[in-house]
Symmetry: C2
Subunit: 434 residues, 2 copies
């Protein structure tokens, strides 16, 4: 006998068996409906992409550490997409001539990253990407902030379970130059210290800042500014506020949707103005659920036409961890509505007929493929979540009747075969879900 | 200025822009609903799998020609799944202890094969896989045949557009041994000639048969037997008919669902009894749309427990080609139901309020992100398929009214802002689709 192969999926990837899949599909469906109510339309694209679309920004060496790459027989270097943004930028650049901007697009795609598997870090994850292309007004930001709260509500999230922390690179730059007095060439390095602000003790941050030439007085000023919240915006020049996407949001009725937070920097090179992250407020689980922002030139790798974008990617692992931690996971949907059980193999044909009529009425119906022991089939129907069973016995069948049982109450009635659909409708008590 | 990268997807892969994606999603949704009405439940699994699960059957050299493979930093050889059957066999073997057989599972997954791109041959395709595990009675076959006709009907296919050709390896073996008199060791080679029956002229086939030791008389007998249709089954021994899965189907009222056809062989090594293919009947397009069959030991690579399976995989390329050729592609869904158009930037906030109420009622609603020129916004709303627009003008707004326009009739009425949702409901004339 040959050696058996392992039944485990490749490390960092996941099998989704039907019960878990049902939970995922319900959550995704609620999110899709919510996203579509804002006029976003769904697209999709390939898993394999030319490797250079990822290497252009980050350099080949860095990309190699996270990318799954391969070379085809034509010598073409390919990568499994680690994220959707370069793909969608490619598609937008390719179709820009036919599109009427702004466009609102979304997708739900699997992405691969070579990561050490640990909580929240898998090698294949699914990501809902929501983006608007060709809009540079703060109305775009406001729409997204409202959408994010709607998406959280759609999956059961309450406003006290998460916080939407928003920054604007333009405001941050204004704080650093106009208030703290950091010269322009130092902005990037000081920003990356701010990105680590919540992860390191004060002394470490102060030492790092000092090594960049930030004085002790400047560091104290920086600390004060970062703690000031949105009040700091009023201290910035009109020129900075006018370039900003977030200053107008803070001055509008959309202000209550967000928490202005200059600590949100995000590492990606794309973002040019607004950046945001949604954090779980549970102290035991305090981390970023997802985030995104604005990029002034999304399609630069592919086109000389400058197309601004705004969007985010919501990963499935953190999303489902959040739902699980807050008790918000839906229960798996039942597998069937009705089981039709013939008590004899000669009754398979009428069973198929009855099942066909029930399916025609929209119900999900099973008939037995193997044994026909009533007790076992009833237990099976119950486990599959059926509301009703139709039992076809040889005795009844001679008078063209069947037994219809309500599995929730246990009540059973003898019904003329022509009335089975309406008898089932009375029991299931709702329109078929499909 | 740096050199621009190509906007084309990797050869043999496809971008699905929203209009095409909408068509696909509608077709898939109809198929899912149909499949679920038979009690099948959806699952999913990883794109990356250990390469050996594909190489075990076909040998490493053959696998290398079609497989996209890569090696991770731990030296693990991986492949992008070229099909779903080994993955689902792995999952079934892994979870057999918790499952109550038979189980009905389906999925819709992307698979990768290194193919020369040509019509119907892409390198990444999507495949709906539908399988039942743990059932070996012909009731399983009958259920699948009925399901296949329902699936074809669900996407608009008529019975004269396709034919469901079914064979049984056990019956074919019976024909070859009992009727033609081929000795057992020759069965496999002669079967592979039958597999090529429709592709080659008689002389070629006869010469190939002759080289296997088939006499001219035997070849003539074979020709007659293959043309006899299901009548041939009565000439086989009771022993063969009893082992067969298809003889009982031909003797039942499910017989009308299929065309018995001993020319259907299928190359895969898995199949042990029933094999079938659905063919387009259009002579200009006559080819196999999809197919499948029965395997007596699906999980053999992973488990000593023998679990029979029956199933098929329906690829998206041939499916959508069929629908296109027969004029059955649905039209893309509209992007939005309602556009809310404020005529002044000061009216953005009430526009968001009205949009929020309409979304709360389930409608897909857009508000402008850039320009606010009424003519352009109306044209945009029309192009997006909106049924209604809500126009917020400064004059009206002072009296808390808005204009609601029916885009199909052009009729427009001034409505109190509190009555906007009901005014839109009257125009859209249907419940929201979400």
């Amino acid at each position: 006998m040959s050696q058996l192969l392992s039944t485990a999926p490749y490390r960092g990837t996941r099998d989704f068996l039907p019960a878990e899949m049902s939970v995922r599909l319900q959550v995704f469906q609620r999110l899709y409906e919510c996203i579509e109510r804002y006029g976003f339309v769904r697209y999709d694209g390939p898993v394999l992409e030319p490797a250079e679309i990822y290497e252009a920004k980050s350099g080949r060496e860095i990309a190699d550490q996270q990318l799954y790459t391969l070379t085809d027989r034509g010598g073409r270097r390919l990568a499994l997409r680690p994220e959707m943004t370069p793909s969608v930028a490619r598609m937008i650049a390719a179709s820009a001539g036919q599109l009427q901007f702004p466009v609102r697009w979304y997708c739900n795609v699997n992405c691969h990253r070579y990561e050490r598997p640990q909580r929240g870090r898998v090698r294949e994850h699914w990501q809902i990407n929501v983006d608007t292309f060709g809009a540079d007004s703060p109305a775009c930001e406001m729409e997204f902030f409202e959408l994010i709260h709607d998406m959280m509500a759609a999956v059961g999230g309450q406003r006290d379970m998460y916080v939407l922390r928003v920054n604007d690179r333009i405001l941050l730059e204004g704080i650093l130059t106009e208030i703290v007095g950091i010269p322009a060439p130092g902005i990037r390095d000081v920003s990356s210290i701010i990105d680590r602000w919540e992860k390191y003790p004060r002394e470490t941050l102060a030492a790092q800042a000092s090594s960049l030439g930030v004085t002790e007085a400047q560091f104290t000023q920086l600390e004060t500014a970062l703690k000031a919240g949105e009040d700091i915006v009023a201290d910035l020049s009109a020129e900075v506020r006018e370039r900003s996407q977030i200053a107008p949001v803070l001055a509008s009725d959309a202000r209550d949707l967000i928490t202005f937070d200059p600590l949100i920097v995000r590492a990606f090179e794309y973002y040019t103005s607004t950046v945001f992250e949604v954090f779980d407020t549970d102290p035991a689980n305090s981390r970023s659920l997802f985030g995104g922002g604005r990029y002034s030139n999304l399609t630069g790798l592919f086109s000389h036409e400058q197309i601004p974008g705004f969007g985010f990617g919501m990963g499935d692992v953190t999303l489902f961890d959040f739902l699980d931690a807050h008790g918000l996971l839906p229960t798996p949907r039942n597998d069937i509505d009705v089981a039709v059980i013939p008590l004899d193999v000669d009754l398979d044909s009428p069973a198929r007929d009855i099942a066909r009529h029930l399916r025609g009425a929209g119900y999900r119906v099973s008939t037995p493929l193997t044994q026909r022991k009533l007790g076992k089939e009833l237990a099976r129907a119950d486990k599959a979540g059926a509301d009703a069973v139709v039992i076809i016995g040889p005795q009844d069948w001679r008078t063209a009747t069947v037994a219809v049982r309500d599995l929730r109450t246990g009540e059973q009635a003898t019904i003329a075969v022509n009335d089975v659909v309406s008898a089932v409708q009375r029991i299931v008590g709702r329109q078929p879900t499909n």
